[in-house]
């Protein structure tokens, strides 16, 4: 039975998580996102109107691993919404079951840049992680809305089947990319690289969040030439000028890629997001 009026109001920190929630929740939930898909999720402004959005939420889904630490906590506190406070069923940190990469193996200090002490939070592109997120959301939706259990389970199964179909479809592209050497702007493509078997040989940022100096770029360009890295990947919310300069000097191609749903108008859900990334990679490989 289709619910005519949404039962739960779900708010996501980034649009991809909202999109995954919608896949599972279907008509039983309505979804709003705090950050827009074309924004850098590290640096969203904690504008008070976002507290109003959270004030109405039954469930908050967020990336976790401290990706949103610079803006989400004051919004949650200011929302005056007991349901979504940390520890409540309406507060879902989607990283809980993710096999986290780039977890520091030495004691972290900020001399390493804006490092995430709990590991790399940019985990939502690989299909295996999308499945984990969707299952986490399904469990939480069932907890909050037990009457919707059947609908959520059915939607989750449909989503997983769709992901499985897409994985087969993407197999050819993945095979083409396997072993390819790349450089990236920020260290946020680790999960994609691991999924596709690409090898990251360097980063435009000398340390996460720290702007590059010429000496670092010279080393990166030399390494890209030596290693034969033909692609430089960058999120579409960064300024292109430095990255395009590096790509030009290294004889590589700069790929400005979306990382979130609605990063571009045509990217409407997780599948179209991943497809947009893969198509560009395949075309450039």
């Amino acid at each position: 039975m289709i619910a005519l009026i949404a039962v739960l109001h779900v708010v996501s920190s980034i649009q991809t998580l909202g999109s995954l929630a919608k896949e599972v929740g279907g008509d039983r939930i309505e979804v709003e996102s705090l950050a827009k898909g074309y924004q850098d999720p590290h640096f969203v402004e904690a504008k008070p109107n976002l507290m109003l959005v959270l004030n109405r939420a039954d469930l908050l889904v967020y990336v976790g691993l401290e990706l949103e630490i610079g803006w989400l906590p004051p919004l949650v506190l200011g929302s005056r919404n007991p349901k979504i406070q940390v520890g409540e069923p309406g507060n879902l940190d989607c990283s809980q079951q993710i096999p986290v990469l780039d977890v520091p193996t030495v004691r972290v200090t900020r001399a390493m840049g804006d490092i995430h002490p709990l590991g790399n939070p940019h985990y939502w592109l690989p299909p295996q992680n999308a499945r984990i997120i969707a299952r986490e959301i399904e469990e939480r939706l069932v907890l909050l809305d037990p009457d919707g259990r059947a609908a959520y389970q059915k939607n989750l199964a449909a989503f997983e089947a769709r992901v499985a179909r897409k994985e087969k479809e993407w197999g050819g592209i993945a095979a083409k990319l396997r072993g390819m050497k790349i450089a990236t702007y920020h260290k946020s493509w680790t999960y994609l690289s691991q999924w596709l078997g690409m090898e990251e040989i360097g980063y435009v940022e000398p340390k996460p969040g720290i702007p590059p100096d010429p000496q670092h770029l010279v080393r990166l360009i030399a390494a890209m030439k030596e290693e034969g890295a033909r692609l430089l990947l960058m999120e579409n919310f960064y300024n292109k000028s430095v990255a395009s300069l590096v790509a030009e000097k290294a004889g590589a191609k700069l790929l400005v890629l979306p990382t979130d749903v609605r990063a571009e108008p045509s990217i409407t859900d997780w599948v179209t997001l991943v497809e947009a990334v893969l198509k560009q990679l395949a075309a450039a490989a």
């Binding site: 924004q39 004051p74 804006d114 260290k187 010429p214 770029l217």
Partner: protein, 436 residues
């Protein structure tokens, strides 16, 4: 559009500069290689992280702790001033001069902060401060409720009032080395803060509107006029045992598209002034019923992706009008003041700001008209470090409303007071995010 164009121009100049530097560095690198010297090694791998595997998961679990987030923030300042400012805030740099010039260093503020969720009902925050190495104070220590119904929230402990915009902010959130003049002149040299309780309510409207009500046990002594610089007469703090200071505030926020934000507030506070102590002993104006009326506005332009231009502009202004009722030898009086400031981010790590302050508008029997202009340039090396150059020019003692009373207060000498400061601000540890 002009702002955007300026930011883009600054960005493009920075890009050209980087390109030149890069060309030069590549050339030097090639020359080194041709001369048989070792070239730059390849870009280092990310050595601090494990790239794959589940082993790190155990590290994550090991990192779990019930300790609160703990941080320390230092504002180390050096500067020169022709004379001490008349309206010196507690966390302003104090070079300990009076009417003579001063040159030196100070640890303007050391703040130690701890915060954590207390339980399913409260979040707790403690901020200890040592301003100008002059003793440990509790700047704030409070609990905020997280689970009240009907959009209500309670804050209890010792805290900064929600009156206006700058009063609630700690030093490291300020855009300038010194707080605005209205702070010391009307709110108290440490701002309007103290032990008390606050109740706030978020109105269920399509736009953000929150109402606050507070009761604070503020305690202040009568202003001393013994020194070479008259102390500002405090608005509140007399009769602390019987008369808490009461405040009420309303704050609203309106976004205009994704780039423009308007945040404003209307503020009211009521209490008893401790007046001033006079040379003959005794006081004048002690126990006068006092009301503060304030309004503040904050307008910000910042693109959704600041990294595209690294440009943003923020305007901020506050006005405070004070009413002191007749009593203890002084007549009914009104005075007030205001400031306006603009801060422009013109490159990834650079901000420039200007602020104008005016106190004594209107001037009263206890508040002379004082004006100040300030400019600053801030380099934000990282999210955790800032270096700031700050210059100001103050003109004190422009006029008193009532010369007969004004004559009781020593005139500020010299009246023109330039000052220059260099400020280094560092933050270590885990410090919670700040509200908008």
């Amino acid at each position: 559009m002009i702002l955007l164009a300026l930011c883009l121009l600054a960005q493009s100049q920075a890009d050209q500069e980087l390109q030149k530097q890069l060309e030069k560095a590549i050339q030097a690198d090639q020359q080194q290689t041709q001369q048989g010297q070792p070239a730059n090694p390849p870009a280092p791998p990310a050595a601090v992280t494990g790239s794959t595997g589940t082993v790190p998961q155990t590290l994550m679990r090991g990192a779990q702790s019930l300790n609160p987030d703990i941080s320390a923030i230092l504002d180390a300042t050096m500067g020169w001033q022709r004379r001490a400012p008349q309206f010196l805030n507690g966390d302003d740099p104090n070079l300990h001069g009076d009417t003579a010039h001063a040159l030196g260093f100070t640890a303007q503020e050391v703040e130690v902060a701890a915060s954590a969720v207390v339980d399913p009902y409260f979040k707790g925050e403690v901020y200890l401060t040592i301003a100008n190495l002059s003793g440990l104070e509790v700047e704030e220590a409070f609990a905020t409720s997280t689970s009240l119904p009907w959009n209500l929230q309670v804050k209890a402990g010792s805290f900064r009032s929600a009156f206006g915009r700058q009063n609630g902010q700690h030093l490291h959130v300020q855009d300038f080395t010194r707080r605005p003049l209205i702070n010391a002149a009307f709110l108290g040299d440490d701002g309007l803060r103290g032990p008390g309780a606050q109740v706030s309510w978020l109105a269920p409207l399509p736009f953000f509107l929150t109402f606050y009500a507070e009761a604070l046990s503020v305690s202040n002594a009568p202003a001393s006029i013994d020194g070479p610089l008259p102390e500002p007469v405090k608005s509140f703090g007399a009769n602390v045992a019987q008369r808490p200071t009461l405040t009420a505030e309303a704050k609203f926020f309106l976004p205009f598209g994704e780039e423009w934000s308007l945040y404003g507030g209307l503020n009211f506070a009521s209490g008893e002034s401790p007046g001033l102590s006079v040379a003959s002993g005794g006081t004048m104006g002690a126990g006068r019923q006092t009301q503060l009326f304030g309004a503040d506005v904050y307008v910000k332009w910042k693109p959704a992706n600041v990294a595209q231009t690294y440009g943003s502009v923020a305007f901020q202004a506050e006005v405070v009008v004070r009413h002191l009722a007749a009593g203890d030898g002084l007549a009914d009086d009104w005075d007030g003041g205001a400031y306006g400031q603009a801060v422009v981010q013109f490159a990834r790590r650079w901000f420039v700001g200007a602020r104008g302050d005016l106190i004594g508008l209107p001037a009263s029997s206890v508040t002379a008209r004082t004006a100040r202009g300030a400019v600053d340039l801030t380099f934000q090396g990282s999210e955790f470090m800032r270096i700031r150059a700050y210059a100001e020019l103050e003109k004190g003692n422009i006029s008193f409303a009532d010369q007969s009373v004004g004559m009781l207060l020593p005139a500020v000498q010299p009246s023109w007071a330039p000052a220059l400061f260099f400020q280094l601000e560092i933050s270590i540890g885990a410090h919670g995010a700040h509200p908008f």
